[in-house]
Structures are given as C-alpha cells and as structure tokens.
C-alpha cells in the first residue's frame, strides 16, 4: 500500500485531498520517537503529583489526617480543597458540582481528596497511602435501578415529541413494551491521563496536557487559580487515544499540576497508574431504556414512547448533552411518525460518566434496533424486512422526533448494496439449515444500519480557527484548534492546506495544538474535527493565496483570477514560477504571509426547551452485517465474518477513514460484547485494569472483515471537499454483532420469540438469555 502520486499524465502534488498518505506521525510511532506527555524531557526540579482517593461511595469526611503523608520521604507539599484559591470546580459546564479536591463530602469511590507533590512519582504514590481519613458513611445510590425511584437528576431532562404518540399507541393494531439494558464502557485509551505544568513569570503557567480540549483546560485552570485565561497556555501535540475520555476528564489532572506549579514555583507532572485512572475517571453511560411501541400487521411503526434512563455519576459533566444525543438517535434510521422520547439523566454515587465516541448516540441506536427486533418476532419476519419497511423516506416520512427533516437520506441504497455484496439472503438460509442440525453450536446473522447526526448540539461549539504561516523559503506551518488523538486529523487538515496551496504534503509542518496560537477552540469531539478545522485552515490558506495571487497578477499584468496554483507552481498564461520563488518575492515586496482562518457551521439551530430545530448539519450513514457462532452450552461466541459499507462522503483520506471505520467497529463490538464494568455492592469498580476489563484483542478482529467506503457519494452539504465526518458513526455499525448473537440465540426457540438480549452480551449473558428463551418457549407464554 505505498503512497505516492496517482498515475496521471500531468503533474500533481503528493498528499492532496482524497489521497491516502500515512498518518503524519506514523514514522515517529514505529520508531518510538513520537513524544507523549510522559516522554517530554522533564524540566529541572520537576515534582511528581499523585492523588489521594475516596474509599467510599458517599460519605462525610469527619477528619483528614495527612501528617504521615506530609512527613513521608520526598514529599514537598500536600494540597487539599483549602488550597484552591479560585472556584473549586473542574466541571466542564462550571455548575459547581465537580470539585478538584473533595471538600468534606465524597460522592464516589475514587474521588480525589488530596494531592501529594513529591520528588519522585514512586514517593508520591507511596505517601498517598499513608493518609488517615475518618469517614461518616452515607447512603449511596449506585445504579440506575436504585436511582430511578428517587429520580435525582444531574441535568434537566429532554423531552422530544412528534405527533400524538398516546393516540397512536392506543389505536395501533399491535402494541408491546419492554426494556433494554446497555452497559457502559471504559475508554481504555492506551496512554493514561497525563499533564505537566511549567510555571512562568507574572504567575503564568504553561500546561502540556493529554487533552481533547485545550481551551477548556485553559478555562478551568483559570477558574481554579483565579487568574485570567491570558496567563495560561495549554499545549497538546498528541494523545495516546482519547475517544471522548479526554474531552473533560483531562481537566482534573491538568488543573492539579497547574495548582502545584503555581504554588511551588516548580514544574509538576501527573500520570496516574492505569487502575487509578480507570477508578477516577468517568465512562460511557450505561442506560436502561423503556419502550412502548405500536405497529400494524406488516410491521410498520405507528408510534413509540421511550424513557432513556442513564447512570450519570455524581456530577453533570456532559451528561445533559449525552442523554440528549441518546434521544436524538433513538430513531436511528426509522420514521416513527408519532413519538415521545424522554431522557432521565440520573445522579448516582459513581464516577461522573462522560463523553465516549458516539456520545449517547450509540445507546439510542440500540433501542431503535431492539424495537425493530421486537416487531420482527411479533409479525414473524426477518428483522431486515422490518428495517426496510420503516426506513425514513427521501421525500416523505422523513421528519425526526426533533422536527428536523432528513434531507440527505441514502440508507436504502447503502443497505441494498450491502445486502447484495455480503450475500446476506443466501447466508441466512445456510445458517438456518445449519442450525436445524447442530444442537450445540448455533449461528446467527444480522444487518443493521446507522444514521448519525453531525454537529455539536450545543450550537456555539460549531466554530473553529486556524493559523497558517508561509515562511519566506516557501515552507508552511499549520496550526488549528483541533487535537490529534490518533484519528489522523492533523494529516487531513494538512492535506487540505497542501491542496489549497498546491504544494506537496511534506512542505507543511504540523504543529501542536496551542491555545496561544488559536484561541477559544471547541473540543475535538462530535466527529467534527476535520469538518470544522479543515474549513478554518482552508480559509486561512485562501487568505494568503489571495494575497499571493494579487501580487503575481500585478507582476504579470493579469487579473488575480487568471492566476493558477498547480503542482508546486504558480502561473498565468505563459508566465510561471515555483511556489517557493513567488513566496520569496512576495516577502521582499512586503506581502503578509500569515493569516488566521475561521469557520462556523451554517444552517444549524436548536431549541432544547421546545425540542425542535435543525441541530445537525447533515447525517452520516453506514450499514454492517455480522455473522456469529454461539456455543449454547457455555454462551461463548465467535464473530466469524463482518461486512461493512460506510459513507464518508468524498473521503479526505480513504486509508485514514477506513482505519476509523474498522477501529470504531471493533471498539463498538467490544462495548456490546466483552467489555463489562462491574462494581461491588460498596460502589467500588472492580474491573479497573486490562486484567479484569476486556477490550477486544487481536484474535477478536473478525477473520473475514470486508470493509468498503461507499463510492460515488459526496456530502450534499457544503462540507470540506464534500467529505463526511467519520470518527463516531462507525462505532454503531457494531449493533449488527449484538443482533447476530440475538439471531443465533433465537434459534433455540425456533425463531418464535424475541431473545431480548441486553448488552454487554458476555458469554454469561448469552447463556442466560438462551435459558430464559428456552423457558419462555417451554411455558408457551407469549411476550409479557
């Protein structure tokens, strides 16, 4: 798969848009030269910080005796809530519900209470163990089930309403209800949270943070230290994985080192052990989703009512927008006509759940697919038929429960294509025949679609800035507000700038995201990185290009419109010059060669109180088929084959996008299968390391894995080079794995009953679902 110029007769740049150059850091990754936070050479006198954590889920701290901690070897100072000069809140929304260090009250096991700064990390870690804390234990609410009756929320719920769901259910030919439980998910970024703070003059501080949101780190440091944002510079070159887990969860770690650096005048670093990282930080929300549906004899949905209850943890964090997005995606690709969808963001005494690839959308998609399954078994059809029957239309039946019209629907075509290319029908028949004669191993297949709304639902975040410098030697330096967590954003944006200037990609130097270069940035989240920052960088490049064109036009006596940038040259008619030569001359002629660029997404608006608007600029689509085999004696299973067809618009970098599709799929598969978070009855997370929390391993990658990006499709909205966002949508393609397992399980009751398989579908859950289904089948009881 070597990169290089496409076979064309006329010269072209290398690494422009729609090509597949390697990730900008690939060479540094494989040689070990890429610097992550803990690899940055340490400033002299750097201190190491470690956090002392709550041992109880809900308790008052009667006394906090840190005498032994302070006198432990190497300890320089210990910090508590009393040391916070500003507002003791690291929450992304600034609601005051998320202290940096707990003050008298702890609300989850693992909540930081104090911080130790010591000469070595080992000393800081050892010292932390010496604290003597007297707790007064309070009643703890640990899960959704116990939280629901009290109904204490961390954020106001969202209510979506379309048509009259009550009337639709009342008059529907068939009606049924049920509950889907979907577990949470640990991000398991391979690089744990980490930050370094370096004090400067005038109380300034520079923070190097493994964060998806440098501007928020800057703002929260400002809030905690009570100093203006201009005194704080936050830099992030790359993360060793983020997946949403470093959108807000990095705040705490960055802020605590900033506090230490400011107070002690020494640089400070924090890098929690993996176990502590997993215990302290929030995860994907687990949900319990109640649904009631009405449908006709064919399986066409008349109306739905849903309540989506989520375990949010002790604070709001991003739980409001996360549960909102669950509601936005509880339709997936289906027209409900009449719908009532309500979120229930419940407060619990657990770590504060947060953003995770899909941001609530995946949980919403899962309830939509469960509904389809229920109807399919009720009317005795293949779930795929029910899916097709209920797809949004292209000209009618296309209004979502939030009153946005789906204007770019391509799901029918994608599904038809995939159904053919994956040989779905034939394989389904083969599987049924296999299952008829094999008592122990049963196979299953399912095809599920995805529609995912692109834009931050908080409209103000849909803006971005970039800074481009062209130096007099023709080399170009690029900076923008997006962060690199492995998704290839830096590469894509550099391709866009290369394309704009018509120079080879390697003429462009990508620099670390830095709040001093581009201010007031949004989190690199919501799949928006390339859409927003690519546009901003293009705008900056165009500004410089226009200046160069005007300069060349004047020189050559033509109009700027006559100037053509192509393959490293600038020309007009018979006049031609290399880009480098023109830039040199432009500098001599005092032309500014530096520009900022700015972009804001057009058309979007959202009225949360009314539950109406146009929150998404466009939708990304995809579909996937999984085939699985289950062991009906043990509940173990194997994913045998997966076929994916995904819509990335006109892909900016097909190799990188393919990586996002495959990686997102496998991560989604892990969420729905082996990744199980398990708390004990005291609220202690017991799956806090890779030994106990099982993300997919190499052997779990499907042995047959056919992945295609949809060809000949471009974004109907005016996005950067008509591409589509691709970070989150593929995660939901993994729904097909859960449904293939469900299909295999259904065979034990002759496909007459909906298995109602919850997630994560661990071998245990698969086996017990099989047993439950056998029992339901034997008692002949219809669906409850």
């Amino acid at each position: 798969m070597p990169e290089g110029a496409p076979p064309n007769s006329f010269p072209q740049i290398r690494g422009g848009v729609h090509e597949s150059p390697a990730h900008d850091s690939a060479r540094k990754h494989v040689s070990g030269e890429a610097l992550f936070i803990d690899d940055i050479p340490e400033p002299a006198g750097l201190l190491h910080v470690y956090l002392g954590l709550s041992e109880h889920a809900h308790a008052r701290i009667n006394s906090l005796d840190l005498t032994k901690v302070i006198s432990a070897p190497g300890v320089v100072r210990v910090f508590t809530a009393a040391d916070v000069g500003g507002k003791n809140d690291v929450g992304s929304m600034g609601l005051g519900d998320e202290p940096l260090l707990a003050d008298r009250l702890v609300e989850y096991v693992g909540q930081p209470i104090f911080a130790v700064a010591a000469e070595t990390r080992d000393q800081a870690r050892r010292a932390v163990r010496l604290a003597e804390i007297d707790y007064e234990i309070l009643d703890a609410v640990l899960d959704i089930e116990t939280a629901r009756p009290g109904g204490k929320l961390v954020f106001s719920p969202l209510q979506l309403r379309l048509g009259d769901s009550g009337a639709a259910l009342a008059t529907a030919k068939h009606r049924l209800s049920g509950r889907l439980k979907v577990g949470g998910q640990e991000h398991f970024y391979l690089e744990s949270q980490a930050a370094i703070a370096v004090p400067g003059e005038d109380g300034d501080v520079t923070v190097y943070s493994s964060t998806q949101h440098p501007s928020e780190v800057q703002h929260v440091v400002s809030r905690i230290l009570a100093i203006p944002a201009h005194a704080i510079t936050v830099e992030a070159r790359r993360m060793g994985g983020g997946f949403g887990g470093k959108e807000t969860q990095s705040n705490l770690f960055a802020v605590v080192v900033a506090l230490v650096a400011q107070r002690l005048g020494r640089s400070a670093k924090i890098r929690p052990d993996r176990d502590d990282d997993m215990i302290i930080t929030g995860k994907r929300h687990d949900f319990e989703m109640d649904y009631e549906i009405g449908f006709d004899d064919d399986g066409v949905i008349d109306g739905v009512e849903m309540v989506l209850a989520a375990r949010c943890g002790f604070s709001a964090d991003l739980s409001g927008p996360v549960t909102d997005r669950a509601c936005f995606h509880a339709d997936n690709c289906y027209f409900y006509g009449n719908a009532s969808i309500r979120s229930q963001p419940l407060k619990t005494n657990t770590a504060s759940n947060t953003a995770f690839r899909g941001f609530g959308g995946p949980q919403g998609v899962m309830v939509a697919e469960r509904i389809i399954d229920e109807i399919a078994y009720a009317v005795g059809k293949d779930p795929l038929e029910i899916r097709k029957l209920n797809f949004y239309g292209t000209t009618d039946r296309n209004v979502t429960p939030y009153h946005q019209t789906v204007g770019d629907n391509i799901i029918q075509g994608l599904v038809a294509d995939l159904e053919r290319s994956s040989d779905y029908q034939q394989r389904r028949d083969t599987i049924r025949a296999h299952n008829a004669t094999n008592p122990i191993l049963r196979r299953g297949i399912a095809l599920t679609p995805v529609k995912f709304g692109i834009s931050f639902t908080a409209t103000q975040y849909n803006q971005a800035g970039a800074l481009v410098h062209v130096y007099a030697d023709g080399s170009i330096q690029l900076n923008h507000g997006g962060t690199e967590m492995g998704q290839g954003l830096y590469t894509k944006v550099a391709q866009i700038v290369a394309e704009e200037f018509q120079v080879d990609l390697d003429c462009i130097r990508i620099t670390a995201t830095n709040t001093g270069k581009v201010p007031n940035t949004s989190a690199t989240a919501a799949s928006s990185g390339a859409d927003l920052n690519g546009m901003a960088a293009q705008a900056a490049a165009r500004t410089i290009k226009q200046r160069l064109a005007a300069f060349a036009a004047e020189k050559w006596g033509v109009t700027p419109e006559d100037i053509v940038f192509a393959a490293g040259t600038v020309s007009a008619g018979t006049e031609s010059q290399t880009f480098t030569a023109l830039v040199g001359q432009a500098y001599q002629s005092r032309i500014s060669l530096s520009a900022t660029g700015y972009y804001k997404t057009p058309l979007i608006h959202w009225d949360r109180a009314a539950g109406r608007g146009h929150p998404f600029y466009y939708f990304a689509y995809g579909a996937a088929v999984a085939e699985v085999t289950i062991d009906t004696l043990t509940g173990e299973y194997r994913v045998d084959r997966v076929d994916i067809l995904h819509d990335a618009g006109r892909s900016l970098n097909p190799a990188i996008d393919r990586g996002q599709v495959e990686g997102g799929f496998v991560q989604g598969m892990g969420w729905l299968t082996t990744e199980e978070l398990w708390w004990d009855d005291k609220g202690k997370l017991r799956t806090h390391a890779p030994s106990t929390y099982k993300i997919p391993a190499c052997g779990d990658c499907p042995p047959i894995f056919n992945v295609r990006l949809a060809e000949g499709i471009e974004n109907r909205s005016e996005t950067i080079h008509r591409s589509k966002a691709v970070g989150e949508p593929p995660l939901m393609l993994a729904a097909c794995v859960l449904h293939a397992l469900s299909d295999a399980i259904a065979s034990v009751a002759d496909y007459r009953l909906c298995p109602r398989l919850d997630a994560p579908a661990t071998p245990e859950r698969v086996l017990f679902t099989i047993e439950d289904l056998r029992q339901r089948n034997a008692t002949g009881k219809p669906e409850p």
């Binding site: 390697a22 690939a26 391979l190 509940g635 194997r638 997102g664 030994s691 106990t692 190499c698």
Partner: protein, 491 residues
Amino acid sequence: MTRSVVRFLLGDKIQEIGNIDPTTTVLDWLRLHKRLNGTKEGCAEGDCGACTVVIGRIDGERVRYEAVNACIRFVPTLDGCHLLTVEHLRKRDGGFHPVQQAMVDCHGSQCGFCTPGFVMSLFALYLSEACPSEDRIRDVLAGNLCRCTGYAPIIAAARHMYELGDRSTDALVLTAEELNSRLNGGDKIASVFLENAGKRYFAPPTVESLADVLVANPGATIVSGATDVGLWVTKSQKILDSIVYLGGIPELRRIVETHDSLEIGGAATFADAEAALTALYPDFGELLRRTGGLQVRNVGTFGGNIGNGSPIGDTPPALIAIGATVVLRHGNERRSMPIEDYFIAYGKQDRRPGEFIERVVIPKPAPGTTFGAYKISKRFDQDISAVCGAFLVELSGGIVTRVRIAFGGMAGTPKRAAGAEAALTGKNWDLGTVAVAMEALRGDFTPLADWRASSEYRRTVSANLLMKFFNETTVGDPQTRLVGQRRITHA
C-alpha cells in the same frame, strides 16, 4: 564464584549494574535511567503489551529472542541477556527495519501509543518464524492491546513485513558465542548476589546452589517470570526484602520425557512446555495457548503457576485431572504429592519455608483414556478463566473405570469435583449417567460471584462442560468448539 554486578547488552552497549534496587522494573530503568522513552507504560501489569521489548537469552548455541513485558520484569534478571527496544531497530543508515516499514505501509498506527509494543512483538515474530499462519499471527499479538485500529492493519503488517527484508541476516541478532564474548563470558555459572538499600537479590546458577540459598533464606520471594510478583511491586508497591531468581538455572527449566511421564522443571515456561504437552494432551496445549499473552507465556513458569496458589490457576485444573504430581525440594530432601494436595485453602499452600518446586511430573495418558479441558472467560485470548474445567475419563467396555474432574474458579483452590466423579465411577458412560453427574457437580461447589462471572453462571457452565465433554467423547465429529484446532485426547 559470586558476582555482585549484572551484565547485559542494551542494543550494542554493555551495561554493568551493581547498584540498583533489585525490584526496579526494566521499563522504569529504560525510561527513567536511560531516557529511552520509546517503550511505553500502558498498564504496569503485563496485560496490554505497550511495554514489549525483545530479550535475547542464550539457549544452547544460539540466542533466543523473545517478546517480554518490560513493566513487570526486574532489571537484574537481564543478566547475560541481550535487551532490544524499539530504539534499536533502525538500520545503521537510519532506514526502518522491515517491521517498522510494514507498520507504516499498512497504516498500522493511529494514536501510536501501543505501536512500539506491537513493533517489538512483530520483530520477535519476524526473527523466530518464517511464515506464520493467520491464527499464529493473532496468537503472537494477543498480548498487545490496540484501542484504535481494530487490529486489521496490524495483522496485514505482520504479513507484509516478510516482503520487505531478508530474515536470514538481521543485523541485531547475535549468536551465543558473540553474546558471551561481548559480556566477557565464561563466568556464566557464577552466582549473582546484589544488595541495595536493604534489599537482596540472589540468582543461583544451579539447582544445588538454589537449594542452599533457599535453606539459608527461607523467607525469600521466589521469582521466575515475575508475571505475578511483578504486580506486587508495580500495583501494591510491596517491598520485597529478598528475591531468589530461578531464570538463570538451565536445568530447572528442562523438560524430560520418560517412559511413562513428562517431567517439567519448575522454571520451565509455558512456551517451553507447549509442544511436548500438546503432543500428549492436545487440549492442554490449547489451554496453554490461551494462557496470558505470548509475552507472559515466554516467561511465566509451571512452578510459578502452581506456586502462587491462585484459586483459578491456568494449568492446575488440567494437571489435577491428569493426575500430575509436584516434587518439592528443601536442601537435599525431596517430597512429592498429587498437585491437588498442594492447595490447602485459599492463599495457603503446602510449601514449607525454604522449599521450592523442583518439577512437575505429568503421567502419559493410559490406554482407554480421554482428556478434555475447557477455559471459559469473557475474552478468548489473554483472559483469566471464570471457570476452567478439565476432564479425564478411562473407559472399559463403555463403563467408566476411572474419572478425574477438576475445576478452577469454582472454589478457593483448584479442586476436584468429588460428587460428580462418584456419580460417574463404575457407571455406563451415557447421557443418563452424565445428567446425574451434572446434578452432583452442582453440589460439589459453592462458587463465588465476582466480575468474571456470577455464582449461578459458574455452576451452570461447569455442569454444561461435562455435557460438552460427553458429547465430544461419544459423537463422531461433533461441532462443539469455537476456537482452537485441538481435539480431545483418545489414547
């Protein structure tokens, strides 16, 4: 003679270290002392592979290069070895090693944090095998977690790397003679003794000297691969006053086949024993394949696996079912016992101070014997069993003449299912008998509920495993397995 320094090669540079805390991990040493930051810490428990390095150790005439987790390996155990990290792979002209180039070409990195570890695992594979199968590639990489790519491009790189270089002449590979001479060899049979900040480290070169050291230091912690003890240090920050390392005793990792048994040295690794055990008991081999990642199997030992007394164990359920015995040695005295007797209770084993596990004796299957072993876990590869069941049955004319059933994960120790065995012994090997035995099995254990499984699942699945075993012994070619190519043993 005794040395008070350890000597090894880091890349092409000799390291001579005497003054070091013996429990300093290789990872910390590389990153904090040598400022070689290419090797990453992902979990500090040997489960994610981000810290994978390649260690060459002398094995006869050659140096065997193996992938190892640096995060739980102690520095002094590198004595006599050749340590290679991601920083050493580039060619002298600055070009990439085929393994690195293949990863770039195949888009095998995204965030890049796990990448050096994958590169090193691939490098070890590249050195040791010419054309690994698809399954083998997945096996070799099972100990490296990647959260970004979904693995497909890395698997592609594992194939592509062979197209980019000539394996026969890798510049980094040394012969045993070269390594020895670089390390001023000749004193390989020396004992190593380090003392630092009140901590003592012994590495005896022979079993005799090991026995002496342990008699003199009965409270010392015995360490081989440190795949368990390493976590005491990295996770619990436990201070280990005295360590006795077994990895430098070739005779203790010997595997000897006798007329009626296989004798596995206490310090033989899982990787060492896999082939010999697979030949005798294919399902045991499959069990070993699924024990840890390759980085763990390369260093984890039979003695350690039994000695640490885990209630789950990887090998003990199978060893018990097979009827293996363990030979313990104290000074010059030896005693042996059935493995099941070694496990007294949770956290308590029948090992006296100063004693060590010298070898494990595994009987060859008797005629008419069938053996099957099953590991149930959330993930197939590199996971710890929720339940591990091992079954050995001897039939004569359709009658069960001998049966041994053992489980891990069902009690405080790996344990036999006495009730189920009784229900089967002397009976017809048929569905009716098995149904009765399954019921009896439910009464044999009162398993715990934890994050790996509920109590009820453990009960149900353990009984169902007996049914599975029965199916596999009676039906011609039953489709009963999701993974592994092994078949149960018919001797």
